[in-house]
């Protein structure tokens, strides 16, 4: 099974070099195909990485996400569009179906254009809320770009993420760099485990509606402020499909990719927008952070037989799992993020064992993690279960079912090796000896004395 898979994977890799693990058909949805010029560098980079980029406007007749029940695209990129709704082909339901069919979506928003209702509904389905009226600008009177937005303060200059959360892979971390977020829309995340904010607004930032709250910000109408506001967030569904919300579409435009910006009172520096955009798109379109299970092996210690279907209670068993990670264009051994553990559960309904797997070795493209342990003294149907779900990494859920049987009747220790059984063994011996003697004396005893 695994060898067929690996051959298929190798063939696939040979056919299309340097592209996502989940296909290379990318659809960019934007108002006017001519607008793509503004994003030339970013889209050119995607094409260079092997994506087949198609451009459509929401009004386009032929636009369809599914053909005969199969996805017609692997990835979607939404650039800001002035259309209020995205039309019958891009309804929120279709988009959710697209995600359910393992399609990835990158949504780029801009405060200059109200978000489409389709996208607002899609995001609220994922527990991501946008400001009311579908528009809102994030401003920060303390962290703005003094070169381009000295008056309006709506171009935020932020330090690039340096440690998002312990135990996660550093895909988005660019220590020391700065990012520019022109005309960003902030959003607020629900508390679900599938959502992870990548860039949060600084403590002094807030979101307001420039049309209605230009003069005064009514205390009751504040959407969100400070770190509640997220500027870039990612969501990975249970099927490992990915949805990313980018608060500022303009940061992908050529003019912002390596623009000069200056913080209040600081020197002007180049932004890291280009690298950040590459990573956000690469992650969303499954070029990084993709895990593959090459093989799972378990066996009785001292036995050659691989993956037997049955074990006995208290057997000593070894378990290994081989994992690879896709990094842009090749499979490499998967190395755990710092402060994280790969764990094996041996479970029947609830786990009897949950053990940390250790790195046992690496090959060119796989890392082998394993652990040895003694099966519990409970018979039944058990699972070897590796349930590795982490933000930024595709889900690994490997379940191998085995039976655990009791001792067979001839596997127990014999009674004579148990010292406690000796009196009872001699009891049987005495009974048997007495019986033999009795048989002899009954048959051969000569009567004495008077016969009755």
């Amino acid at each position: 099974m695994w060898s067929i898979l690996s051959v298929a994977a190798a063939l696939f890799a040979a056919a299309v070099s340097a592209v996502s693990t989940s296909g290379n058909r990318l659809l960019v949805v934007l108002d006017d195909v001519a607008e793509k010029e503004a994003y030339g560098q970013f889209l050119g980079d995607l094409t260079a990485r092997g994506f087949q980029v198609s451009y459509e406007t929401p009004r386009s007749e032929g636009l369809t996400l599914f053909h005969l029940g199969e996805r017609t695209y692997d990835h979607l990129l939404f650039l800001p569009s002035k259309v209020k709704g995205l039309g019958p082909n891009l309804t929120p339901n279709r988009l959710v179906d697209f995600v359910n069919a393992n399609g990835n979506i990158l949504v780029a928003l801009s405060s200059t254009v109200p978000a489409s209702t389709s996208l607002v509904s899609l995001l609220s389905e994922l527990d991501i809320s946008l400001p009311v009226e579908r528009t809102g600008t994030v401003v920060d009177h303390f962290n703005y770009d003094t070169i381009s937005a000295a008056e309006s303060h709506d171009v935020l200059v932020l330090d690039a993420p340096s440690s998002i959360r312990p135990g996660l892979k550093p895909y988005f971390e660019l220590p020391g760099g700065v990012l520019a977020f022109p005309h960003a829309v902030g959003h607020v995340l629900g508390s679900g485990p599938l959502l992870t904010p990548i860039v949060r607004a600084p403590a002094t930032a807030y979101s307001y509606n420039p049309k209605e709250q230009a003069e005064v910000l009514d205390a009751d109408e504040l959407f969100a402020a400070g770190q509640q506001l997220a500027l870039v967030s990612v969501m990975q569904a249970r099927n490992s499909a990915r949805v990313t919300v980018l608060g500022s579409a303009e940061m992908l435009q050529d003019k912002w990719l390596d623009a000069e910006v200056a913080k209040l009172g600081g020197k002007s520096t180049k932004t890291e927008n280009k690298e950040f955009a590459r990573r956000v798109a690469g992650w969303t379109f499954q070029e990084i952070g993709v895990l593959r299970v090459n093989s799972v092996e378990h066996h009785l210690q001292g036995s050659e037989e691989l993956n037997p279907g049955i074990y006995r209670v208290k057997n000593d068993v070894s378990y290994t799992i081989s994992l690879s990670e896709y990094v842009w264009d090749k499979w490499v051994p998967f190395v755990l993020p710092e402060d994280d553990l790969l764990q094996l559960e041996f479970s029947m309904l609830s786990p009897f064992h949950r053990l940390n797997l250790e790195l046992k070795g690496t090959t060119d493209d796989a890392a082998i993690y394993g652990v040895s342990f003694t099966l519990p003294d409970q018979h039944g149907i058990f699972n070897f279960m590796v349930n590795y779900k982490r933000s930024f990494l595709t889900n690994v859920e490997e379940k191998n079912t085995v039976s655990v049987r009791h001792f067979a009747h001839d596997e127990w220790p014999r009674s004579f090796v148990i010292s406690g059984a000796w009196p009872w063994i001699s009891g049987i011996g005495a009974t048997v000896t007495g019986f033999l003697g009795f048989c002899a004396i009954w048959m051969y005893s000569k009567p004495v004395g008077k016969k009755n």
């Binding site: 009674s415 009196p423 009974t431």
Partner: protein, 154 residues
């Protein structure tokens, strides 16, 4: 009616006790009436009663039956020792206890059966069964019992 019934009651029960004590003594029913009243009269001369029973047993029991009784006592002692050990030292391994103790219990029951069937006094109850036939049954059943015990003790 009830009064009459009550009056009638003691007789059968007395007969029952007599019979059971007879089997215990292992001999002729005639001895029982002598023993039972004396026990009722004065508990003080229990020793005399016992001595009576003992002497009667020694005198009237056939020697062949005595041989069986010695064997029964032996089995009882072996069984008691095993049971005592189980109480004192715990029942691990339990299957060994069951088969060891079960062997003595089974052997005891079989031997009692043999004794009943071969006692001359019970001849009328088993007219078809000769003592030799009873012994053959006894040997077969004992061997089967031993096989079970050896198998079960592991």
């Amino acid at each position: 009616m009830p009064a009459k019934k009550n009056a009638a009651q003691p007789a059968p029960s007395a007969a029952a006790t007599t019979q059971s004590s007879t089997t215990a003594a292992g001999s002729v029913p005639a001895s029982a009436p002598a023993a039972a009243p004396s026990a009722k009269n004065s508990p003080a001369n229990w020793d005399k009663v016992l001595q009576n029973i003992y002497q009667y047993y020694m005198k009237e029991t056939p020697q062949r039956t005595k041989l069986i009784d010695v064997f029964l006592v032996f089995i009882a002692v072996v069984g008691a020792l095993q049971f005592l050990y189980c109480i004192l030292a715990g029942n691990y391994p339990f299957n060994a206890f069951l088969s060891g103790f079960g062997a003595t219990v089974g052997q005891f029951v079989l031997t009692i059966s043999l004794r009943i069937q071969t006692t001359a006094a019970n001849k009328s109850e088993f007219p078809e069964i000769s003592p030799e036939r009873a012994f053959a049954d006894y040997v077969v059943c004992s061997l089967i019992l031993h096989f079970f015990c050896v198998n079960f003790i592991n």
